[in-house]
């Protein structure tokens, strides 16, 4: 072999080592060996359960919840899996699927994509009879995710002390009042909003999610369905105006550009530490505020242009079950028992501020003041019929295409840092949508 040929071989081998893992990562396997009886006990059904951890939903929370079900069904043994990050749990489920390790049961994982590929078990009306919204989140007319709870996304949590220091006596109800409050807070030396980002991109797009839900979905509730049908685009005037409204907050200095690298846990801590006056976040934050007995934290709806109390919410977020689970019956029993158990529902309220969407359920009497205030806002919107879908959080036929949530988060960060104009961000989303749809 000549020197040149030897070098070429060496170069190719070295390059193969570089790209090999990436290339190998793209190879697909679609095997699913499911779970098997590995306990050694006769009749024991083993299932795998993918969870995720947050400051609210700790390992102890999941372990206790699993134990309650396995105490009720001693024949079920659960192998708990934990996603590497809360925001990446759906992507982690995809990776497990690609490597032939698709879990039998998953919580909080978006069914989009999995359902269309036949990976998930479609629940029957009989199995969904105990849920308040049994027809939430249909995918091609079937229901794959237990509609276990409702989350309002995002109410605005605020620091009462900072509001008082800025001379704000009532919480804003219109967008103009909101801008006025931001100006007062800034003058008083407080950063109006706390946002986050980093590996938890959703923390960057919370305000944008609220603005789009209220301004766009408030006028056109089926906007996302129309987007899927190609009838509307992100670059249409109404959506671009929502992007501009969000960018305006950053332009005016009401959002600190440096916040976009802070992860979710750090963002929550930053608000609790008084780094900013308002924290637009899902209603799960209420549990954290109540757990820390923070009497100085209040909550109000993200204002609409005209003061109508529109509340973006998402009902779903429950468990999905693999249609190929080796012990499908055990997986289904586990899922329903997990989602309908009264003690578990109470725990989910206290630990994560969830609003269980189970018939006949009422939250426990000892919930904290921040949760109670947020719950009252939601109940008021339900009675006024002013609940809209929460943009970016939908998971069904009326949700974003797979992979698009990360693009929304990236667009939000670009608007905060000023790297993109609203028109450029809208074009970026349309371009990425076209790629996602191809």
């Amino acid at each position: 072999m000549t020197t040149l040929a030897r070098r070429s071989v060496l170069a190719i081998a070295a390059a193969a080592l570089v790209a090999g893992p990436a290339l190998a990562g793209c190879s697909t396997t679609n095997t699913n060996d499911g779970s098997s009886d590995g306990s050694g006990k006769a009749g024991t059904k083993t299932i795998s359960f993918l969870t995720f951890e947050t400051p609210n939903l700790t390992a102890a929370y999941w372990d206790a919840a699993i134990k309650r079900v396995t105490d009720r069904y001693p024949d079920i043994k659960v192998n708990k899996l934990v996603a590497p990050s809360a925001d990446g749990r759906t992507n982690y489920a995809k990776q497990l699927r690609q490597s032939g390790q698709f879990p039998d049961v998953m919580v909080g994982v978006s069914p989009a994509g999995f359902a269309e590929a036949g990976d998930l078990y479609p629940w029957s009306p009989e199995e969904l009879k105990d849920f308040v919204f049994p027809t939430a989140n249909p995918i091609r007319g079937k229901y794959y995710q237990l509609p276990a709870n409702t989350q309002t996304i995002p109410p605005v949590y605020y620091n009462k002390t900072m509001f008082a220091e800025a001379g704000i006596t009532t919480t804003p109800t219109t967008w103009d009042e909101m801008l006025g409050a931001c100006a007062r807070l800034k003058t008083a030396g407080h950063t109006p909003f706390v946002v986050g980002g980093g590996k938890d991109g959703f923390a960057s797009s919370m305000i944008l999610s609220g603005i789009v839900s209220i301004d766009v979905y408030g006028r056109t509730p089926d906007w996302m369905t129309q987007r899927r049908a190609g009838k509307v685009k992100f670059s249409d005037p109404d959506f671009t105006a929502a992007l501009a409204k969000f960018a305006d907050l950053a332009d005016k200095g009401y959002i600190a550009k440096s916040d976009v690298s802070r992860d979710y846990a750090g963002t929550e801590q930053a608000f609790l530490d008084g780094k900013g006056a308002m924290y637009p976040m899902g209603n799960w934050f209420a549990a954290s505020a109540d757990a820390k007995h923070r009497q100085d934290i209040g909550v109000f709806n993200l204002p609409s242009p005209d003061g109508r109390p529109i509340v973006p919410a998402y009902t779903g977020g429950g468990i999905v079950v693999s249609s190929k689970a080796a012990n499908l019956d055990a997986a289904k029993r586990f899922a329903l028992a997990f989602q309908l158990d009264k003690t578990q529902l109470d725990d989910s309220v206290k630990a994560d501020g969830l609003i269980p969407a189970v018939k006949g359920y009422t939250p426990p009497a000892d919930t904290g003041p921040v949760f109670n205030a947020g719950y009252a806002l939601y109940q008021q919107a339900v009675s006024n019929s002013t609940v809209v879908h929460a943009f970016r959080w939908e998971t069904a036929d009326d949700g974003l295409l797979p992979g698009m949530t990360d693009k929304v988060d990236a667009a939000a960060q670009d608007l905060i840092t000023g790297r993109k104009s609203p028109a450029q961000a809208a074009k970026y989303l349309d371009d990425e949508w076209a790629k996602a749809a191809s």
């Binding site: 070098r7 390059a15 290339l23 550009k257 797979p402 992979g403 960060q413 191809s438």
Partner: protein
């Protein structure tokens, strides 16, 4: 012992030229192929025992996935949207117009340049300082090498905390009077350089160790001869040390080139490709995001194949340039 037996056994008598006697020529003609066959069998046996396992593992874990990926790159493979269809070069044509891919390419090139140059230069300087005997220098070598043995995820988590907008580094800067310290990870103009610095910091120890090994292999008598000829320290470094360090430069450059080109874990943990759309997203990050987040396995495979081609080319060029200046003593 008959001549026939001697030939089969390949005895010395059979190998020694016997002269042009007509009676031995036919025997030689039959013996030579047999010897070649025996040698071939022996070679095959050695290969089967020592070579084949490694080659089979390499083929199974690297070559087969590459071949599969080339195949997928010519399809619209999407595990969530079957069936898979042949699309020819469509994915490659799309890459030509994909702004996100071009951004990832630019990010990867910038990151690679920084990660190849900074640890190389700093590693050489530190190695020159540590090329001495003594416990202190031994300890310092360990200190510089420690980051190399840490998991890149651990390193990334630590540096994410250090570089946080309210982290220890910025707190220290504020204490020193800097009112608005840099947003190391959230400023789109700074984030890539911050991540590149973290990777460079981790790779520094490797370069130091390789350069130290190179420095210690330089014969002392060459330095003495140069000194006798009147060469000062700088001249001795340029004329003696630097040329003899060429193999170390080659190793460091190629390893850093490969490491930088496949950067994924640092990006995933520290910035998740942001802030914003792709400001720190490398090709490897984009390949995995496209394949696993957006489910476009076919398109991601095309990106990976292009990445492979670029890596091959860059490595071949680097090796050609660096090997040309290597010298043997």
């Amino acid at each position: 012992m008959t001549p026939h037996t001697q030939t089969r056994r390949g005895s010395p008598a059979a190998r020694v030229p016997q002269g042009p006697t007509t009676s031995t020529r036919p025997r030689e003609r039959t013996a030579a192929p047999r010897r070649r066959i025996a040698a071939l069998r022996s070679g095959l046996a050695h290969f089967a025992v020592f070579g084949a396992p490694g080659i089979l593992i390499y083929a199974w874990l690297v070559l087969v996935p590459i071949a599969l990926s080339v195949h997928y790159s010519l399809t619209n493979a999407n595990p969530f949207n079957p069936p898979r269809r042949w699309v020819g070069l469509h994915n490659y044509r799309m890459l030509l117009h994909d702004e996100q891919f071009h951004t990832a390419l630019r990010v990867t090139v910038v990151l690679t340049l920084i990660v190849v140059v900074v640890p190389n230069v700093a590693g050489l300087l530190i190695a020159l300082l540590l090329d001495k005997r003594g416990r202190f220098y031994n300890a310092m070598r360990s200190v510089f090498f420690t980051p190399m043995i840490l998991s890149s995820v651990v390193v990334s988590v630590i540096w994410t905390r250090l570089l946080d907008v309210d982290g220890p580094l910025n707190r220290a800067l504020r204490e020193l009077g800097v009112r608005h310290p840099p947003a190391w990870l959230s400023d789109p103009d700074l984030a890539l350089y911050s991540v590149a610095s973290v990777i460079s910091w981790q790779m520094l120890g490797f370069c130091v160790v390789v350069y130290l090994a190179g420095l210690q292999s330089v014969p002392g008598e060459l330095h003495e001869a140069a000194a006798i000829d009147g060469a000062g320290p700088v001249r001795r470094f340029r004329a003696v040390t630097w040329p003899l360090l060429a193999p170390a430069v080659t190793i460091n450059t190629v390893v850093l080139l490969i490491s930088a080109f496949k950067t994924y874990d640092h990006i995933k943990v520290i910035t998740n490709g942001g802030p914003g759309a792709g400001t720190t997203a490398t090709l490897a990050f984009d390949v995995l995001a496209t394949g696993f987040d957006s489910n476009h396995i076919g398109y991601a495979s095309a990106m990976a194949v292009v990445m492979l081609a670029i890596a091959c080319l860059a490595t071949a060029i680097a090796l050609r340039i660096l090997r040309a200046r290597e010298i043997d003593l």
